[in-house]
């Protein structure tokens, strides 16, 4: 069966290619949202999303549109995150769609992350509608982007829509086109309710609200809901759709996308990917989603130890609608009590850190990110280590296996050399190089250029810190990258310890490849030397591997900190100044033995650059 009047679709696009603007324009042209409610980028509701111009959480909006054929069509636009870290969110959204709009910037062409999303859409058997945006800009390179779409994906030029989301040019044609090309949702001829949960949120009044796509059946207020896998039951308090705020409606029908408020007070057991039905009905579970495994780990510590319970609460709250986030308590001699957290990638990590600081106002210290290593001990015992502190002594280790990724980079070919150099310095190996277009004569640098897609194999640990920025600067900002976890390989990894005043600081340890350990040790001690303020005594800073010092430097003793005079007997002011300084220090500094170490020092490992070449 089909519901001919529904179209469910997503827009997939690289960051900045204009996804939100296009969504806004579609919403605008269908007249679904009052002009007054329109803020720019309606769908990006989190501050962070609007600021960074990215989408983190999937959002959905229902639009009612009268087509040229005078049919009333319900368009469900399901927004997707553009970044690979949030691929699980993308795959969720895509599972609720029958088609996607593939949006490419006319000034930039296909980007690495676009590829991954297109593959996802293909995997889901979705109709793909190619669209080139920003064709009105003087810098638009529409012809060459058409040739890319043609050469790489095989789209014919007459299939490609040319639009300007900003001015609205071509957008109506696109809406009409997607109504024609994207198939309406099909569903089995089945009265039983079957709905795929693709997201959930918690509302203090309505309890758990699940976002569903109904495959079959109908659901309305007052019925009893059953979660097939978790076997939880709940009342249907409210049903409705997204406009983009939650808008209640009498019922939800097969093929529709909407929400169900359940009144459940506990999110435990509410799994995205589970299937809902009604009590008394019998239906089978949908395939659901691939389980998601974090690949990047870091220790998060509150700057102020008193904030530990607040940090725990905040992480629990974030986890409610971010099942990819994992955390467990850990402690560090230098930093006190905190949490080991696992993330899907670096952006995911950054977003969570930023949300903790912004939405929950907790100041954090994050330790160097680490991947998960598989350790095989000489005894044959196997274990996984994602925190350098837990790496067994080297004499006990037989093998260390680290995760490798397949890295895709799309770049104008003139930067291949720079990128190669960077990738090989990080132990990467080139696998493949493919031209995305014919070489053309470029007026600006009077040479033939074209964009290429290069794939590499590289250890994940090598791209954790400061890699994306390096790719950008190696290509004057033109290259884009994406990666996918591939396999684990044996590597010669060592634990680099940092000693401050002869005491090893657990929060500064890291696992690194033997070949770069000397360089990293040197960089780190010198960086720390500049970050740790002079103390009342000389502080040696050393880097060591298995107890052997490989790099060292000293923070010289402080020579002078004295107030010239207590002017006119204003003793209170001077006293208060000292008190404030001390309180400020207490806030900013962590005691490592008898050394005051500022928070920035613990972050030093996060941008441990090889000195930049210019």
């Amino acid at each position: 069966m089909k519901n001919l009047n529904i179209r469910n679709f997503s827009i997939i696009a690289h960051i900045d290619h204009g996804k939100s603007t296009l969504a806004d324009r579609i919403i605008d042209l269908t007249g679904s949202i009052d002009k007054r409610e329109m803020t720019d980028q309606v769908l990006d509701t989190m501050d962070l999303e609007q600021e960074r111009g990215i989408t983190i959480k999937a959002q959905a909006v229902r639009l009612n549109y009268i087509s040229n054929e005078a049919e009333e069509i319900q368009l469900n636009l399901i927004d997707t995150p553009g970044h690979v870290d949030f691929n699980y969110e993308v795959s969720r959204s895509l599972a609720a769609c029958e088609g996607v709009v593939l949006l490419v910037d006319a000034t930039q062409g296909i980007q690495a992350q676009t590829l991954a999303n297109v593959y996802l859409a293909l995997d889901n058997n979705l109709e793909i509608i190619p669209v080139i945006n920003k064709v009105d800009l003087p810098s638009a390179n529409t012809e060459s982007v058409i040739s890319e779409l043609n050469q790489y994906f095989g789209f014919k030029s007459d299939e490609i829509y040319l639009v300007s989301a900003k001015t609205g040019e071509g957008v109506l044609e696109l809406i009409e086109g997607l109504i024609k090309k994207i198939p309406p949702p099909t569903f089995p001829n089945d009265e039983n309710l079957k709905g795929l949960i693709f997201d959930s949120i918690y509302d203090p009044y309505k309890g758990v609200i699940i976002y569903v796509k109904l495959i079959s059946g109908l659901v309305k207020k007052g019925q009893k809901l059953k979660f097939i896998k978790s076997k939880i039951t709940a009342d249907v308090l409210e049903t409705g759709f997204f406009s983009p705020d939650l808008q209640d409606s009498d019922s939800l029908n097969s093929g529709e996308v909407g929400f169900i408020a359940t009144g459940l007070k506990n999110l435990k057991g509410i799994d995205v990917g589970d299937t809902v039905t009604l009590e008394g009905q019998s239906t089978s579970a949908l395939p659901g989603y691939k389980p998601i495994n974090p690949v990047v780990f870091t220790g998060l510590y509150p700057t102020d130890g008193d904030d530990y319970p607040a940090l725990r609460d905040a992480l629990e709250k974030l986890k409610l609608n971010d099942s990819a986030l994992i955390f467990e308590p850990e402690s560090s001699t230098a930093l006190g009590f905190g949490f080991r957290c696992g993330f899907l990638g670096l952006l995911h990590m950054e977003i969570i850190e930023e949300r903790l600081e912004r939405e929950f106002e907790i100041n954090l210290i994050a330790t160097a990110p680490s991947v998960k290593y598989k350790i095989i001990k000489k005894s044959g015992e196997e274990l996984f280590v994602d925190n350098p502190s837990y790496l067994p002594e080297s004499r006990l280790i037989d093998k260390i296996i680290e995760p490798w990724v397949e890295l895709s980079i799309i770049t104008p070919d003139k930067y291949i050399g720079n990128i190669m150099e960077l990738v090989t310095s990080r132990r990467g190996k080139q696998k493949n190089l493919q031209y995305l277009q014919e070489q053309r004569f470029n007026q600006d640098d009077k040479s033939f250029t074209a964009r290429v897609l290069i794939s590499y194999e590289i250890p994940l640990s090598e791209i954790l810190v400061d890699f994306h920025d390096r790719i950008k600067s190696a290509s004057q900002g033109f290259a884009s990258m994406d990666y996918e976890i591939m396999d684990g390989r044996e590597s010669e990894m060592v634990k680099l310890d940092i000693l401050v005043n002869h005491e090893s600081v657990d929060a500064l340890s890291m696992i690194t490849h033997r070949n770069s350990s000397l360089q990293k040790g040197n960089l780190l001690v010198n960086k720390l030397k500049n970050l740790i303020p002079r103390q009342m005594f000389q502080v040696p800073i050393q880097a060591a591997i298995s107890g052997r010092i490989i790099a060292r430097t000293n923070v010289k003793a402080l020579r002078k900190n004295v107030t010239a005079k207590c002017y006119g007997g204003d003793i209170t002011r001077k006293r208060k100044l000292l008190e404030q300084q001390k309180a400020g220090k207490k806030r900013r500094m962590k005691m490592v033995g008898s050394v005051e170490v500022p928070q920035e020092a613990f972050m030093a490992v996060l941008n441990l650059n090889e000195p930049k070449k210019n």
């Binding site: 004295v562 107030t563 010239a564 005079k565 207590c566 209170t572």
Partner: protein, 404 residues
């Protein structure tokens, strides 16, 4: 306002500080409560200061003064007739029969024989001259209005009439090197001054010099060089008749500044003028800084002061603080350690009510191990190294619980 009981008719003698908030021009490093181009307020503010003196004299029952200190700003810049008015008020309302020291701060460009004579007539017996450096380039760098020739000639005039005078010198100044410092220091040593104050430059937020340094327009010597300048001064002065008695102060024979000793020894004093501080009966309090608001308050008949500002409590006081035990302990260390004689447990116990070993035993052990303090005959003193790190040392005496 309640300063405790029996504020009047006290037996102890007081210090009196008078704040003169005027300068002809403002030096680029200075964040004192003083202003250029408000000469039109000479009269008002003088009257207000005199009124405040009368107010306190009445309130405290004409107490005995041990010292008087005219600071600022530039007291020498305030025309003589106004100073006369201020002293009239002092002599009228305070008992100065046992007053040992009356100091005026002055600037080299203000000195003339005529003025010096007039100061003598006011009863002033000690001068403090803001020389800062005997180097024209450096003086210009910090926006001083005099040059070294003026400084040297003013010293010649002063020494005719005053036996007891101080020179202020500064080190760590923009573009100053060790050699410059040595030269200035030697000129000062070889003058007939009986007292030297040597201050390290402190960059204060909001001053033009500070923003120049932040922007990189001006450079000041690094901490190591500044520390060397201090070391050099200490070493050089050791070979002279000057004896160090405080972190920044040296005196020949018994010519220590008695007024400043009142501060360092936690004794009582009254401050009059905008922004002036006082310490009486276990309370520290402070006047409002703005000369304008201050003068409005005290231009009224002192019997009849109107409360014009919501923060003002009585007189022009905007801040008042009762000394708790923790504060007393910290301040006793903070002030007492500045003195070469250090802090004795007897004095500490008398002031705070508890032995310093009980409060700070652990801190003493740590600081001794670091070579920052020494202990002798139940007295704690800063070592030479500790003097340059005085703030670090004192921070150890802040009682943490307060800031949780």
């Amino acid at each position: 306002m309640n300063y405790g009981e029996n504020i009047a008719n006290r037996s102890t003698t007081l210090g009196l500080y008078i704040h003169i908030p005027f300068c002809l021009t403002k030096c680029n490093y200075c964040d004192f409560n003083t202003y250029a181009s408000i000469e039109n307020q000479f009269e008002n503010i003088t009257r207000s200061i005199s009124n405040e003196i009368i107010f306190w004299g009445n309130k405290l029952g004409s107490p005995k003064l041990k010292t008087i200190f005219l600071g600022g700003g530039t007291p020498s810049y305030l025309p003589e007739k106004y100073k006369q008015e201020i002293f009239n008020a002092i002599y009228l309302k305070f008992n100065t029969s046992e007053c040992e020291e009356i100091t005026i701060e002055c600037n080299p460009d203000d000195i003339s024989l005529e003025k010096i004579n007039s100061w003598k007539n006011l009863g002033i017996n000690r001068l403090s001259l803001g020389v800062q450096a005997f180097n024209d380039k450096i003086l210009k760098n910090i926006g001083r209005r005099h040059n070294s020739f003026q400084a040297e000639s003013s010293i010649k005039i002063i020494q005719e009439k005053f036996k007891n005078f101080n020179l202020d010198l500064m080190f760590g100044l923009p573009n100053q090197n060790l050699d410059d410092w040595k030269k200035s220091l030697n000129i000062a040593i070889n003058s007939n001054a009986t007292h030297l104050s040597l201050y390290g430059l402190q960059l204060e937020k909001g001053t033009p010099l500070n923003s120049d340094v932040e922007k990189g327009i001006r450079k000041i010597p690094d901490d190591d060089t500044t520390a060397k300048m201090y070391d050099l001064a200490c070493k050089t002065l050791k070979k002279t008749r000057f004896k160090q008695y405080e972190i920044s102060n040296w005196a020949i024979d018994k010519n220590m500044c008695k007024h400043n000793l009142i501060y360092w020894k936690n004794k009582e004093f009254i401050g009059c003028g905008p922004g002036a501080s006082s310490y009486i009966n276990g309370f520290r309090f402070k006047n409002i800084k703005s000369p304008k608001i201050y003068s409005n308050i005290f231009n009224e008949n002192p019997q009849n002061i109107k409360i014009q500002h919501r923060k003002i409590k009585e007189g022009a006081v905007i801040e008042i603080e009762k000394q708790t035990k923790e504060i007393k302990a910290l301040e006793t260390m903070m002030l007492g350690l500045r003195l070469n004689e250090g802090v004795s447990d007897t004095f500490f116990t008398k002031t705070v009510g508890e032995s310093m070993y009980q409060l700070y035993g652990k801190e003493f052990t740590k600081l001794k191990a670091l070579g920052l303090i020494i202990e002798k005959n139940r007295k704690i003193k800063l070592t030479h190294k500790g003097k340059l790190l005085a703030n670090e040392v004192i921070s150890n005496f802040i009682i943490q619980e307060k800031f949780k």
